[in-house]
Amino acid sequence: MALSRRILPVLLRRVNGGGWVAPALSFSAPARALSTATAAAEPPPPASDEEESVVVKGVRISGRPLYMDMQATTPVDPRVLDAMLPFYLHRYGNPHSRTHLYGWESDAAVEEARARIAALVGADPREIFFTSGATECNNIAVKGVARFYRDRRRHVITTQTEHKCVLDSCRYLQQEGFDVTYLPVRSDGLVDLAQLEEAIRPDTALVSVMAVNNEIGVIQPLEEIGRICKEKGVPFHTDAAQALGKVPIDVNRMGIGLMSLSAHKIYGPKGVGALYLRRRPRIRVEPQMSGGGQERGIRSGTVPTPLVVGFGAACEIAAKEMDYDHRRAAALQQRLLDGIRAQVDEVVINGSMEHRYPGNLNLSFAYVEGESLLMGLKEVAVSSGSACTSASLEPSYVLRALGVEEDMAHTSIRFGIGRFTTEEEVDRAIELTVHQVKKLRDMSPLYEMAKAGIDLKSIEWSQH
């Protein structure tokens, strides 16, 4: 096959329109012998427009889609990259090397980054421990605390809308004999404080409630939860990966005992995160990574200087830009919502609108099938539900916990707006979404029936 590709251009002529034609020559017989039947039917390689369009998953697109999936990950801010590069170029020492300049400067950079992260959340630098990401932090927090206090405490409380790593860690603890309470949430996504207070037992080791939900963008009442936990003497852990740098966090005002932070959600590099662990009163955890005792024994392993420096730079930038970014995100979210609602009806926002981080908008479109909606939105990079669950066909467990019906859960789309999102991108996203929703609704008999006033729930579908 490869041989014929090389020989064919020599023996055949390319014509306009992209076809191949065999020259009327006497020695076309050898060409025939070498070529296979499929060679003639082979489409010619795209010539000059290769740089302009590409076929991905069966769809031809002529450029990168516009990115509106900020909850999955964020682009690296050029200022962050600028801070990281020297540590990939010439300052490549291991921060734990104590005997030479490379180690000393690396260590100094790590400590400076630690201080910047601590400043953003109102903590002491000695309370910040670097890990490989928020998932590892959640594992250390949930499993580490429960195992450390396993003699006296046997109960863990969390919510049904937590990130998969927290839920999975809790399930793991259940196998070890712990009791876990998965608190339900209200239909607006917020946890019920009275239920939380009731659920706390004398042997509760940990309460884990995430600050900002990655799927629906709802902000939980951290101060109230912290107050309840402090009264009852239970450590309060929060997964603040989506909240860091976007909403103000103060670990003392909010009574937070442990906190998981992630760099790649605030325009930092991927592969690094930090765990906040309170010193007064001291919260102890059992380390999950055994080794040389780095990071005060909490997390062994070489601290990745470039990534950590990037994380510190991202936090410094976030501290300065939080207000500006928040105002912009709120304005853009309003623009997106108004634009879509002005042209299509039966759009439902999943999660509370008042207690929401504005950069995360999760919408459900009634009478539209989710997969086909996403297939038509290839020019916009959005996601339906969370990246963690997108591999399976089941609807998002977060939406199910909100009480959203299965058909609406399937059609949910999550729009992520960030620091770099522009008005033109939002307008284009509106245009594409509305176009696709209208197209699908035109084809939908359910929509027709609903418009005619028929109550879909009262229909008796015939059995075949």
Partner: protein
Amino acid sequence: MAAAVTSPVRSEVLSLFRSFLRTSRQFSDYNIREYTRRRAADAFRENRALADAPTAAAAFAEGKKQLEVAKRQAKNTMFHATLLTKMW
């Protein structure tokens, strides 16, 4: 070296702003390009009202530092620009 800190002259500030706009055009990524332009414009507009000399001088110095960062990174992204550039 106890000279009084002077606030920057208007022409200096305008020249810095123009440099930002020029540098922003060098970014091959649409989002970063637009952000640099917009953030610079908003920052200069906000700091226009700064009255006293030390804060104005500090803001100007900060602006110059940020310009250096932007220039370095604009060159970076130019070299790493891929064929699959944005839709616009």
